[in-house]
Amino acid sequence: MALGVPRFRRNGQGSSTGDLPTQTTQGSSTEDLPTQTTQDPSFALPEAGGVAARPEPLVGRPPAEPEGPSTVGVGPYRLAFRRLRRNKTALFFGAVFIAIVIVCVLAPVYSHDVAHIGPNVTNPTGTVNGKSVLSTSGVPIGPTFTAHYFFGADSDGRDLAVRLLYGGRTSLIIGGIATIIIIVFGTLVGLLAGYFRGVVDAVLRPLMELIWSFPPVILGVAVGTALALGGIGPIKGNSIFIPAFIIGVIYIPYLGKPIRGEVLRLREMDFVDAARVQGMHPWRIMLSEILPNATSTIIVFIPMMLATSILLEAYLSFLGAGVQAPNASWGTLISDGITYLDTTPSFALIPGAMLVLTVLSINILGDGVRDALDPRAQVKIQT
């Protein structure tokens, strides 16, 4: 999808023009037009199985840039970085994301030095500024905007502001671990299936199709509930690694399939043939010949997968199948807060706002990165 920020800023063409149709359509983007027409998703005919006939991502070709005096001798990634630096919207939201990460990393400091209460410390009989934390009927206190109970309490008398920061940490850690799993295994599966084809592909591809054909939320909730009960091996049921692991596995095909397609294309190229006739080992061909050419696809997927993973974690936690008590995440906080939606909406809306701001800033930054790497790319992902 093409979202977010002005695109098609070209070197040496004066002012940036945004998203004008002349540039996208009748424009002079001659350098990549021939390949474009054959790979365009608008021409994707239905594949066997129907399920897989989604628009295929188009990322991964080396960024096309008109030859100009300023671009001679500059590598594609440096060019992409230059383009990204000119994209003020993406940079701004990148900064917002970094700020959120820093604030959440500093959660223990806030908990220890400002709120003086831990994230999982219950305090049902306590008072703050002369008011009790829980009313006699058990309704928690709303936002006080003082050091103690800044955003109010939850139904066990825990400090919501502290839990909001710790919950953010949990959400970000789960998203991060899931993204690492997706990137490592998605790339590996895509490389193996695409390079060896045959039996390897015949095993890996149906596996990916199977995961892909389930809605992520349903699959995640079923596996999440099941594993939250007993854990896996040494990992306890309420460990945050369980949702991270589940989310990672669910989204492996979302990277593995496009990488596989990319590798299928690359393995027919002359330089791979050259490496093969030199007697290079398949692993070396995959890692040093093919992988570098698929790197921009992978880079584009990193922010997208991070945003999607954080969102899926929120869905799972909202349905009780993600992060388990006593840990908090933005999803569990929203879920707890919805009970009080009519009286104290901030309980649900503040963690909700944090979640949306985080995912939004990752998405906008990711959009900028994708535009910078390949201005004509279209990538689709769904939760």
Binding site: L20, G50, V217, I218, A222, A307, L341, D342, K380
Partner: protein, 316 residues
């Protein structure tokens, strides 16, 4: 056409088989999963649990349990472990509520996306286009339960324009039916409109360059006719593919979050409850139900493809 139907039916059977084995297998490998104990109740004696295990066949090998369950599903006799309700009739009685939720929501987002996507492509770079760009990226960043919560708070609690939650069936009172469902419809639709219209927009802009569009213009067709009959028609395919899959999974219960939040007694709500109780039969039936719709709509979309584009032949 006959070949197409046969091959699709075979692949549907394969997918249903794989889905059922996987879902069944997930629960089989979980160490703490003990359905006999769950049915017998919290304070059951080991003897009672043993009787239940025997009655439901939980002590039989995996393949026997699987075959028995499949037999019960296809004869419509399967019951859930929690309340001993017949799962098939439960799905049947709840499906109208899911249809009431999903079909209008899907129509709202598809029609709005086609209109907004066309407007945005025709006026690319102008204000409407940029506003849509913002809407699309915000849409993919908000979980549906949060949008639902915000709508509920603003329109049901603060302004009391809409009822807070609940469901009235279409046959008992059409006006109330729509009144109760407007917020859930828009919770689902709003998030997808932006994304769908962006995809349509970029397809439209790519299509304008095509030879057949130039030919149509050269024939002297009016601007409107070229856009509607040639550009738009050919650009609809990618979003129809997306739509088929999204719609199918929503019908199968992917709207479980919305149904839970708004307390709509659809199949998704049943699945959500079953998942919470680790109640295998409804989860199993729900997964197969979803897989069925995914295959069905995959095939339907391919038929629509062939109708829209004469170059496409129906195969495999």
């Amino acid at each position: 056409m006959g070949r197409f139907i046969v091959r699709r039916t075979l692949s549907a059977a394969a997918l249903l088989f794989a889905t059922s084995v996987v879902v069944f297998g997930i629960f089989e490998v979980i160490p703490s999963y003990n359905p006999g104990r769950a049915i017998a109740g919290r304070n059951a004696t080991p003897q009672t649990v043993a009787i239940v295990n025997k009655k439901f066949g939980f002590n039989q090998p995996f393949y026997r349990q699987y075959l028995n369950t499949m037999k019960l599903i296809f004869t419509g006799q399967i019951v859930d472990y929690q309340d001993q309700l017949n799962v098939v009739s439960e799905f049947k009685s709840r499906f109208p509520a899911t249809l009431s939720l999903v079909i209008p929501a899907a129509l709202i987002w598809l029609i709005a996306a086609i209109i907004l996507g066309s407007v945005s492509a025709l006026r690319a770079g102008r204000f409407a286009d940029k506003a849509l760009m913002v809407m699309a990226i915000v849409g993919v960043s908000i979980p549906v339960f949060l949008l639902g919560a915000v709508l509920l708070y603003l329109l049901a609690y603060k302004l009391t324009i809409f009822p807070n939650t609940g469901y009235v069936s279409l046959t008992s009172n059409p006006a109330q039916w729509a009144y109760y469902l407007i917020l859930p419809w828009f919770s689902i639709a709003l998030l997808s409109i932006g994304f769908y219209s962006r995809v349509l927009r970029s397809n439209l802009l790519d299509m304008v360059n095509e030879d057949f569009v130039r030919t149509a213009k050269a024939k002297g067709l009016s601007q409107q006719r070229v856009f509607r009959r040639h550009v738009l028609r050919n650009s609809l395919m990618p979003i129809l593919t997306m739509f088929g899959l999204d719609f199918a999974t929503l019908l199968g219960g992917a709207a479980l979050v919305t149904e839970t939040l708004f307390n709509i007694p659809g199949v998704g709500q049943y699945e959500a409850t079953a998942i919470g109780n680790l109640d295998v039969p409804p989860i199993l039936v729900g997964a197969m139900f979803t897989a069925f719709f995914v295959v069905l709509f995959g095939a339907l979309i391919d038929v629509v493809y062939a109708l829209l584009d004469p170059r496409v032949r129906l195969t495999g």
